[in-house]
Amino acid sequence: MEQLIVSVLLAFLAATAVAVIRLHNLFTVVMLFGVYSLLSASVFLIMDAGDVAFTEAAVGAGITTVLMLSTVALTGARVRRRKGRARTLLPLALVSLTGLALVWGTLDLPSYGDPDAPIHHHVAPRYIEQSPVEIGIPNMVASILASYRGFDTLGEVTVVFTAGLGVLLLLGGRRKRGEDDEG
């Protein structure tokens, strides 16, 4: 039953993505991206990934949409229509080729939801069994994130900090309307 819901949501996602390709107003494109992100968060939720759904909804549908809207306000919302069929045929061919290669690769993947898939057999059972004993907090994702894989989280925080510094260096010099004080 839940698989049916996921399939419907994925169909909506596909429709939204195709609409993003074809539209010519950036404001609409950014709004559709917000919709895409929220639908993805719903898909994550139905697939039992609560933390991931939470983060995707907050970060994707929240922060990224706000940042893109701020950018569109600064750069203008019109997209130029490009003419010429050569411009679409070559990318379409490339994309189809890559897609077919990937689909051929997925034929070897285990069945969706199979509890005997190799992914569930090496490190994951150790985390699931030992996390209540060694760490004692109910949320296993938090215990893996902060304790078992703490180094990755340290790197992630550093990346976020660096991005903040980068944006500040790029856009931090105040350039107000009518001023032209820096190049």
């Binding site: 399939s7 994925l10 697939m47 039992d48 203008g76 997209v79 069945s111």
Partner: protein
């Protein structure tokens, strides 16, 4: 019902690949910089969908320890995707900041205009 569930499950992967290719197509065939960044984000999010659908376990529950639950979905891909989402927003923010600066320097965010201006120099 089982047969339907099994095949619908495999279609999960294929729709995720279709979404990836949509994002990829947006990046390579459209000239507007902001649209390319939106395409990259669509690509990224569809990769997350593929990953999370690999971690789902039939009959399992969300990976939070509580009374009466024995089978959990695999929490390790959840952690990896959480990190990936946050790193994704960091790179998107930087990309958008660069787009704003390009607009100020070249007067346009269309690739053709930027290339024309560079060639004219």
């Amino acid at each position: 019902m089982d047969w339907l569930a099994h095949h619908l499950g495999q279609y999960n992967y294929w729709v995720a690949i279709f979404l990836m290719m949509t994002g990829f197509y947006t990046v390579i065939s459209r000239g507007n910089l902001v649209k390319q960044i939106v395409g990259l984000n669509i690509f990224q999010t569809s990769v997350f969908i593929l990953y999370i659908s690999l971690s789902n376990v039939e009959g399992g529950a969300a990976p939070i320890v509580r009374e009466g639950v024995k089978l959990f979905s695999n929490p390790l891909p959840h952690v990896l995707i959480l990190t990936a989402i946050v790193v994704g927003v960091a790179t998107t923010a930087l990309g958008l900041a660069l787009t704003v600066r390009i607009r100020e320097a070249y007067g346009s965010i269309e690739e053709d205009d930027i290339r024309a201006k560079d060639d004219a120099l």
